[in-house]
C-alpha cells in the first residue's frame, strides 16, 4: 500500500485516457456514425493520407489493460508513442511531391487545347484499328507538340519506325534466302551432272584397262604406270586419270557450294527469327517503360501498335494488362476532374484533395488534369499547407494556435474531420494535468525528486499549461491535511458526492492511504466519475455529430449507474427536450412493460428503434419482451425506465 495514492490516481487517469481513445477509435464514434458529413481522407493520398496514418498510429498505440501498476507504466509508453507519431507527422511535407506542389500553382489550360489532344489520340486509336499506320504516326507527331506530352509520342513514333526498319531488313534477308536457295538447287543440279560425267569416265577407264590387260604386260617396274605414255601395255592413259580426278574435284566443289548456300539460308532464317523475337521483346519492354512512366495515352497506343506490327491476335498478358489498366485510368481521371470540380464547388476540399493528389500520382501527364482551374488548385495547396501546419503545431504542443487553425480549417473545408486532432489535444492536455497531479502527490509525500520528474514531464507534454505556474509555486510545499481531508472525504462518500471526491482526489488519496474501506470507497467514486465523464464526453461528440438520440441514450444509461449525479441529470434533461419523440416512445414502452402489457410495450420499442436503429435500450427491450412472449429464457436486462426519474 506504500504507493497506493500513486497507483489509484494513475489507474483513474490512464483509465480516462483509454476511455477517450476507445470512444474515438470505436466504429460507433460519432464522427463516423454521425451525419456522414465528415469524411476521412483515403490513406493512398500522400498528403492527407499521411495525416490519417500518422494520427491513426496514435490511436493504435493505446495503453494496455491491466493492473494499476501496469497502467502507470502505460502512461510513459503512451508518451513515447505520441512522440513517435509526431515525428511521423512532421515528415508529411516530404511526402507531398514537388511536382504536385508545382502543379497546384499552374494556370489551367484552355479546354479546346486539351480537347484537340484527346481528339488526336482518339483518331490515332482509330487509324491503328484501320491499319492506317502512317496516319496514326502523323497524329502522334502532332500530339508530341503539346507541352505536357514532352515528346513522349514522338518517342513512340521512333520505336514504331525502328520495328518497320527491322521488317525491311527481314525482307532483304528473305530475298537473299531465295537467291541462296536457288543457288543451292543449281549446285545440286551441277553435282548430278558432274557426277554422271565422272562416273562415265571412270567406267571408260575400267573398260580400257581390262581390254588391254589381256595382252600380257611383262614390263618390270610398274609403280608409275599412270604416267606412261597413252596406249602403253593395257594401262589407263594419264589424260584419262587426270580427267577423272578433275571431275571428282568439280563434284566436291559443287557439293560444298550447295552446302554453303543451305547453311547461309539456315543462318539467315535464324537471324530473322532472333530479330523478330528481339523486336517483340524490345517493344514489350518499351510499353512497360511507358506504363511505368505513367504515359497512359502512349501505353494504350503502343499496345495497339504491337498488335498491328506483330500481327498477333492476342497481346502478351503483361502488355494486355497494361493496356487495359491505362485505358481505365485515362477514363477515370477524365471523370475525376469533373468530380473534383463538383466537390470544390461544395467546399469538400479534403476529399477533393485526395482525389486530385491520387490522380496526379497515377498520371501526372494526363491532359485532363490541366483543366483544373488554378483557383481550386490553390485551395488544395492551402489545405495541404494547413495540414502540415496543423501537424507542426501538434508536434510543438502549441494548442492555442492549433485550436485557431482547426476552427479556420473547419470553416473553410466542409469535409475536414477535426475530431482526431482535437482528441490528440485533449489527450495530451490530460496527460500534462495527470503528470501535474502526480507531481503534487509526490510533493505531499515528500518525494521531491519524483515530484520534480513528474513536473518536468507535465511541462514537456504541454508547455503552455496554465496550471504549471501556479503548481510550481505551491505543489512543493508539503502540508498536513490528512485529518481535515478524512472528515471531508467521509462526508462526500456519505452524500454520494463522487465529484467532490474526484475534484479533491489528491488530498483524499493521501488522507485515506492505508484505510482499506475508504480506499475502496474512493476507488468506487473515481470509477463512477470516470464512467460519467466518459459518457458525457461521448454524448457531446454524438451531439456534435447530430446524433441527439444517441447522445441522450448515452447519458440515460450512465444516469442509471449514478442517478444522483447532478451533471448527468442536467444533461439528460437538456437532451430529453431535443430527443423528445424518441424519449417518449421509450418511456411509454417502459411503462407498458412494467404493467405487463407486453404486446404494447414491444410495439413502442419497435417504433423507438425505427427512430434510432442503434438504440441499445430499444434493442434490448425488443429482445427482452420478444423472449418473454415466446417463452424463452430471457437474458438479464433491466426494463429501461426502471430507474428513470
Amino acid at each position: 500500500m506504500k504507493q497506493f495514492e500513486t497507483l489509484i490516481l494513475a489507474a483513474f487517469l490512464v483509465g480516462s485516457f483509454q476511455s477517450v481513445f476507445a470512444q474515438e477509435a470505436a466504429p460507433e464514434s460519432p464522427g463516423e456514425a454521425g451525419t456522414g458529413t465528415t469524411k476521412e481522407v483515403p490513406a493512398k493520398d500522400p498528403a492527407p493520407g499521411a495525416s490519417k496514418d500518422s494520427l491513426g498510429y496514435l490511436y493504435n498505440e493505446k495503453p494496455k489493460d491491466g493492473t494499476a501498476a501496469s497502467k502507470a507504466d502505460g502512461v510513459s509508453e503512451m508518451i513515447n508513442g505520441k512522440l513517435m507519431a509526431l515525428d511521423a507527422i512532421s515528415s508529411v511535407s516530404s511526402l507531398v511531391s514537388p511536382a504536385f506542389e508545382a502543379y497546384l500553382s499552374t494556370e489551367e489550360y484552355p479546354p479546346d487545347l486539351i480537347q484537340a489532344y484527346e481528339d488526336a489520340y482518339d483518331q490515332s486509336v482509330e487509324s491503328i484499328r484501320k491499319r492506317d499506320i502512317s496516319t496514326a504516326l502523323g497524329l502522334l507527331i502532332d500530339m508530341s507538340g503539346y507541352n505536357w506530352d514532352t515528346g513522349a509520342s514522338e518517342q513512340l513514333v521512333n520505336r514504331v519506325i525502328a520495328v518497320w526498319d527491322m521488317r525491311r531488313n527481314q525482307k532483304d534477308l528473305t530475298a537473299l534466302n531465295e537467291k541462296l536457295q536457288e543457288k543451292a538447287r543449281s549446285a545440286a543440279r551441277n553435282f548430278d551432272l558432274e557426277s554422271d560425267a565422272v562416273m562415265k569416265k571412270m567406267r571408260d577407264n575400267d573398260r580400257r584397262t581390262r581390254s588391254r590387260g589381256g595382252n600380257g604386260d611383262k614390263g618390270g617396274d610398274d609403280t608409275n604406270k599412270a604416267f606412261h605414255p597413252a596406249g602403253g601395255g593395257g594401262m589407263p592413259s594419264a589424260t584419262n586419270v587426270v580427267d577423272a580426278l578433275i571431275g571428282k574435284m568439280n563434284l566436291t566443289e559443287e557439293y560444298l557450294r550447295g552446302l554453303e548456300s543451305r547453311a547461309k539460308v539456315v543462318l539467315n532464317e535464324t537471324e530473322m527469327k532472333a530479330a523478330e523475337q528481339k523486336a517483340r521483346e524490345d517493344f514489350s519492354a518499351y510499353i512497360k517503360v511507358l506504363h511505368d512512366g505513367r504515359w497512359l495515352h502512349q501505353t494504350k497506343l503502343a499496345a495497339d501498335f504491337y498488335r498491328v506490327l506483330f500481327g498477333d491476335g492476342d497481346l502478351p498478358v503483361g502488355v494486355a494488362e497494361m493496356s487495359v489498366k491505362s485505358g481505365e485510368t485515362l477514363q477515370r481521371i477524365r471523370n475525376d476532374v469533373k468530380v473534383f470540380a463538383y466537390k470544390a464547388e461544395k467546399d469538400e476540399i479534403a476529399s477533393a484533395t485526395s482525389l486530385l493528389a491520387e490522380d496526379f500520382q497515377v498520371a501526372p501527364n494526363h491532359p485532363a488534369l490541366r483543366l483544373v482551374n488554378r483557383e481550386n488548385k490553390l485551395r488544395v495547396a492551402n489545405y495541404i499547407a494547413n495540414l502540415q501546419k496543423l501537424q507542426n503545431l501538434i508536434e510543438a504542443r502549441d494548442f492555442t494556435n492549433l485550436d485557431e487553425l482547426l476552427s479556420i480549417m473547419e470553416s473553410e473545408v466542409k469535409d475536414f474531420d477535426p475530431i482526431k486532432p482535437k482528441a490528440i489535444v485533449r489527450a495530451v492536455k490530460r496527460e500534462s494535468q495527470m503528470r501535474l497531479g502526480m507531481a503534487k502527490l509526490y510533493a505531499q509525500q515528500g518525494k521531491l525528486e519524483d515530484a520534480l520528474s513528474e513536473f518536468k514531464t507535465a511541462a514537456e507534454a504541454w508547455p503552455d499549461n496554465p496550471d504549471l505556474d501556479a503548481a510550481s509555486e505551491k505543489f512543493f510545499t508539503s502540508q498536513d491535511v490528512q485529518n481535515k481531508s478524512t472528515v471531508e472525504f467521509d462526508r462526500a462518500a456519505k452524500d454520494r458526492n463522487y465529484r467532490r471526491i474526484f475534484e479533491n482526489s489528491l488530498e483524499f488519496g493521501v488522507a485515506v492511504k492505508g484505510d482499506q474501506v475508504r480506499e475502496d470507497q474512493m476507488k468506487d467514486a473515481l470509477e463512477k466519475v470516470r464512467a460519467a465523464e466518459t459518457a458525457l464526453e461521448k454524448a457531446k461528440l454524438f451531439e456534435q455529430g447530430g446524433d441527439v438520440y444517441g447522445s441522450w441514450e448515452t447519458v440515460e444509461l450512465a444516469a442509471k449507474e449514478w442517478p444522483e449525479d447532478g451533471e448527468l441529470n442536467r444533461r439528460r434533461a437538456e437532451l430529453s427536450m431535443q430527443a423528445s419523440v424518441f424519449v417518449s416512445k421509450l418511456s411509454k414502452a417502459s411503462k407498458e412493460e412494467l404493467k405487463g402489457h407486453d404486446g404494447v410495450a414491444l410495439a413502442y420499442f419497435l417504433n423507438a428503434r425505427e427512430d434510432y436503429p442503434m438504440s441499445k435500450m430499444a434493442n434490448e427491450g425488443i429482445k427482452r419482451i420478444g423472449d418473454k412472449i415466446l417463452g424463452r429464457e430471457p437474458e438479464v436486462t433491466e426494463p429501461v425506465g426502471s430507474t428513470s426519474r
Binding site: 407498458e592 402489457h597 404486446g599 404494447v600 425505427e610 420478444g626 412472449i629 415466446l630 417463452g631
Partner: protein, 83 residues
C-alpha cells in the same frame, strides 16, 4: 395502443410486409415484425404454430392477415395468406 383492453378479442385485417423475425419457438409460434402497407408503421405479430404457413415468409412479399388482439396486447395472427 395503451387502451388495448377495449379491443381485446377484436379482429382486424392487416396488409403488410415482413420487416423482421424476432424468433420462433416450436410450441408457441413465430414472432415477426410486420410493416403495415398503408401507414408504413411496424407492429409485432405472433403467428401461432398452427397458423404458420408451409411457405417461407419473404421480406418482399405482401401478406393479408387477420389479427386478433389478445392477452397483454399481443397481436395474434388468425389467418395468413400471400397477397
Amino acid at each position: 395502443m395503451e387502451n388495448y383492453e377495449t379491443l381485446l378479442g377484436g379482429r382486424f385485417h392487416l396488409n403488410a410486409t415482413v420487416d423482421a423475425e424476432l424468433g420462433t419457438v416450436p410450441d408457441r409460434g413465430k414472432l415477426v415484425v410486420l410493416r403495415d402497407s398503408e401507414s408504413k408503421k411496424v407492429v409485432p405479430v405472433l403467428i401461432p404454430t398452427e397458423v404458420i404457413p408451409n411457405f417461407a415468409l419473404s421480406k418482399s412479399q405482401r401478406y393479408n392477415l387477420v389479427i386478433e388482439v389478445s392477452r397483454s396486447g399481443i397481436l395474434d395472427a388468425v389467418e395468413l395468406e400471400k397477397e
